[in-house]
């Protein structure tokens, strides 16, 4: 009988195979859950400690206060730290976004196969250099060079930190943007060339607009990276919490500045009592930082989704 039955009826071995499949399924599910649980646990810890901090320091004082001096004056206004983070982010963006996109256009549209094969991995190595090295690079090389242009520049200053963070995130922008540009089908380039476009026109009127969702995503990821950057800015920009002075923007960049991440490091490595208010403020800053980067990631996804719709 078994010889007549077509080979599609489940046998014992098939049953055990189904059981095995089921096991794998559960295993993979558990791994997925683990990462979600970790994330949730981190957020809850942050939230718990931040809330006990905000019980003692009103959240409005924290978010709107313009003086950050936890140990000496007991002032917990986070704005100077946010200002420091924004300065580094904007400063590094001014460097990294244009250079990154132009590099991506060069790699995707102009570079020969051989140059690309050398340049792209080299750029990606830049992304692998430990950030502490970037910090010392800023302190030891960039600041002395800047001193020739701005004699009043401080040993620790926001400008060299911005430059070095900018250099650090260029590979992220160029690599992700280049991926997006390379994914633009050649048929569109041919259409444009066929209409008498120059290489430059093909790049600017077809390739970049078609790759815009990937380019914008790369920007936002790079900015998130700049916002979260810690070691390099702590070393290069120092630890003087200071609100950005709109009347003297360049001067502000020449002075030492403390970012949110640097403030957290400074609290963490000082020997404050873990039950003290100062120590708990660390979690309030952490949660604020998380809220900022989380928002940026959401925006990035929205942007990507929106433009992808238009493209396909």
């Amino acid at each position: 009988m078994s010889s007549e039955t077509p080979d599609i009826v489940t046998s014992d071995t098939d049953a055990s195979r189904t059981a095995r499949e089921q096991t794998y399924r559960v295993l993979f599910l558990l791994c997925g859950l683990l990462s979600i649980l970790t994330t949730v646990a981190i957020i809850l810890t942050l939230l718990g400690d931040a809330l006990t901090f905000w019980n003692e320091v009103p959240i409005t004082d924290f978010l709107l206060g313009t003086n950050w001096s936890p140990q000496i004056e007991g002032e917990y206004g986070v704005l100077p730290l946010v200002s420091g983070t924004l300065m580094i982010t904007v400063g590094s963006a001014l460097i990294a976004l244009p250079i990154g996109v132009l590099t991506a256009i060069y790699l995707s549209e102009y570079a020969s196969e051989r140059i690309r094969a050398i340049l792209k991995p080299t750029l990606e190595i830049l992304a692998g250099v430990p950030t502490v090295v970037y910090g010392f690079f800023a302190l030891v090389y960039i600041t002395p060079i800047l001193e020739n242009i701005f004699p009043t520049i401080g040993t620790f200053n926001a400008l060299s930190a911005s430059i070095v963070v900018g250099i650090m995130i260029i590979p992220m922008v160029s690599s992700l943007s280049e991926d997006a540009m390379s994914a633009v089908p050649d048929s569109l380039r041919n259409a444009s060339y066929g209409l008498g476009a120059t290489k430059f026109e093909v790049s600017t009127t077809v390739v970049v607009p078609s790759a815009v969702s990937g380019i914008v995503s790369s920007f936002i990821l790079a900015l998130s990276r700049a916002i979260g950057e810690t070691m390099a800015v702590t070393i290069a920009a120092g630890s003087t919490a200071r609100l950005f002075d709109g009347s003297d923007p360049i001067g502000s960049f020449l002075l030492s500045t403390e970012t949110m991440t640097a403030a957290m490091i400074n609290i963490g490595k000082s020997d404050v009592d873990p039950t003290s208010l100062t120590y708990k403020s660390l979690f309030a800053i952490g949660l604020t930082l998380f809220a900022i980067t989380f928002t940026m990631n959401v925006i990035s996804n929205l942007v990507a989704a929106r433009y992808r719709e238009e493209y396909e």
Partner: protein, 296 residues
Amino acid sequence: MSSESNTTKSEPTEETTTDESSDRLIDTAAVSTTADESRQQSNSMIADTVIETRNLDVHYGETQALDSIDLEIPENQVTALIGPSGCGKSTFLRCINRMNDLVDSARIDGELFFRGKNVYDDDVDPVALRRKIGMVFQHPNPFPKSIYDNVAYGLRIQDDTENLDERVEQALKDAALWDEVKDQLDSSALDLSGGQQQRLCIARAIAVGPEVILMDEPASALDPIATSKIEDLIEELAEKYTVVIVTHNMQQAARISDQTAVFLTGGELVEVDDTQKIFENPDSQRVEDYITGKFG
């Protein structure tokens, strides 16, 4: 530019690069006027040769794709290039507007004259050349932009935006697409059907006022109804433009072309003649075998 330039091969050509390296040398208005005038001429006399190749060889690296091609393409007619796949039809087409320049491994020898000027001369600007010799590809490739922006694209990159609306409308009318899209010019070209997209690509190509339109199997990705619309359109286009079309569909070549060139394996041009002659009574036995389906 005058209509006389159509009758002489020695006329200095407009696609020549100048010292100012200007690539805005083409006056599209003048070009279309010329096309109109020359159509009237060609109705009353034997068609002029617009494109002529002599000993045209193409290699991709070591592979030879075209072997010593001599071919004349008459004005305001449809010339069909047929032959089995891999015989170099697309390669030939891409030589005419120098799209092969974009292929690093391609090497072109011999001469290819466009109105008497060898387009492979050093002083020819391929960008200007491509504005006079438009191209339509095998798969519709509209830009991910609006219908209007697709048609306006070529004029905009030339900064030639005078009366843009009217010219976009005219191009869409000439491509037999206007009635279908006139109320949705701002919607994405990608929302059109495949056949509409291909006619949009034709509108985009003719908007810049080319003299010649190259088409590489323009209907091969389309259904029969869309195909027949494209075929009708091609016959109409031949009143204003010189059309060179690659097709692997022999009925299509027989239906729409005036002249047919048969390429066979090895990049060899075996026979070129009036379409009727090729399909009814070819000189070459190999062409007859190919057309009757004995091989290829």
